[in-house]
Symmetry: C2
Subunit: 253 residues, 2 copies
């Protein structure tokens, strides 16, 4: 264990810098906060350093023998934290690019999801619904943003999250004859008309403008969720849940 | 139109007080903010006063002949606002208790939903999914909280939102032979086992602890959403969307 008492220690500046996308991109690392997320990061074998407030305890069941642990003052813990009620535990993690088997996969493609809470909840939902990998397309908020990570509740460590060009991904998936379902209000059918897709790719889009028209044109079929009341639309995380669970239930049957 | 230039005007203090539940309960009024929500409030005929920044314009299609309109300085608008980028338009609205036809209804009962964003998104989802009324049980955050109102995207004005005792509501619904579905991990069946309920009540519960056991015991059947991946659970708004849309699709077929 190492101990840091001074707020001027250069490591602290470095950790705080990881709150910016620029620094995360430069270093290939990111920081997670709170017992649950750090534990999930440890299970995923991506932790480089653990930072622990002197007022917090390392859970006995964590194996951190091969990890640098830094004990810091409560003031330092608060300085690093991006939450209102810090739990006093952080992990610096390595970004890992996963490989994905494309055959027989179930893919969720995200086009311009901008709200961090939505992106995190969508990743959590994709994990629950048995999605093979999430493809983060153009215009999505950075997945390593602290609010996104928190909203994933650890699911960010459970399935591959891959940045890429959605157009190129669609080409690859279509070469494998994986049906791609867009989400749209026009030129679309109710989602319940899809029968037993076996494997699939689903695209959901930006909170305001939806999936870009040029992507919708490339889809095998576009789906909509009927609105029975007076709401204009559904929240994109909720819509993703309804569609992903529906498609998954058809795969199973 | 009336004009207010001074931040010391007592009306401003009164409007700001409506940010507290205590004042909303005392006066039976609440405040909404932004063009979309104010327009929905006007359509619902619940607006008592409109407050407009001198830098904003009333849309030409709003009929406000019978409504008090106060034009205020931009500084006052910012003082009243609870958002980071105020649109400069607000409405003081009257709370209305709606009557609901219980027969043939589809009800969503909420037990201890505490996150304002979740409650708002659930109300929006209930509206979209054709729910007849939402029953706000014990321990839910105040529906007239500004963050809840914002997250409803106007759906708060589209269907009855009724505060009540969930135990008493369950008794009433069961007297009418409306099946009540709880959500639970134990003593529960996959939600896809429900066939054609016709009408129904669905209970979802607190973000951490779920639906209270004493309520689950009273349910006709408890449902769970299968987790195909490694997530521990779904966000409660997403779960509500999956279940409400599933039940609604069975009613339709």
């Amino acid at each position: 264990m190492n101990r840091i008492d001074s707020l001027q220690n250069p490591r602290i500046k470095q950790w705080k810098k990881l709150q910016t996308k620029k620094e995360r991109d430069k270093t290939g690392t990111f920081i997670v906060e709170g017992f649950h997320l750090v534990e999930e990061a440890l299970k995923a074998n991506v932790v480089q350093q653990i930072i622990l407030s002197e007022q917090a305890d390392l859970p006995a069941n964590w194996s951190v023998d091969n990890t640098d642990v830094f004990v810091v003052t409560e003031a330092i813990s608060k300085a690093i934290s991006e939450t209102e009620t810090p739990q006093g535990v952080f992990a610096v993690c390595e970004k890992i690019e996963s490989n994905v088997q494309l055959e027989n996969g179930k893919f969720l493609l995200l086009d311009g999801i901008q709200d961090p809470g939505n992106l995190g909840t969508i990743i959590r939902t994709a994990d629950a619904a048995g999605i093979t990998a999430v493809i983060l397309g153009e215009g999505c908020v950075d997945v390593y943003n602290s609010k996104v990570l928190r909203s994933t509740q650890g699911s960010v460590f459970h399935l591959p999250i891959i940045k890429g060009s959605l157009g190129e991904w669609m080409d690859k998936l279509q070469q494998l004859s994986i049906p791609i379902y867009g989400t749209a209000l026009q030129h679309a059918v109710p989602y319940t008309e899809v029968k037993a897709p076996g494997r699939f790719a689903l695209i959901v889009g930006n909170e305001g403008s939806g999936v870009r028209p040029e992507l919708l044109e490339k889809c095998d079929q576009n789906l909509y969720i009927p609105i029975y009341g007076q709401a204009e639309s559904l929240n994109v995380s909720v819509a993703t849940g309804v569609l992903a669970y529906y498609l998954q239930s058809k795969v199973d049957n």
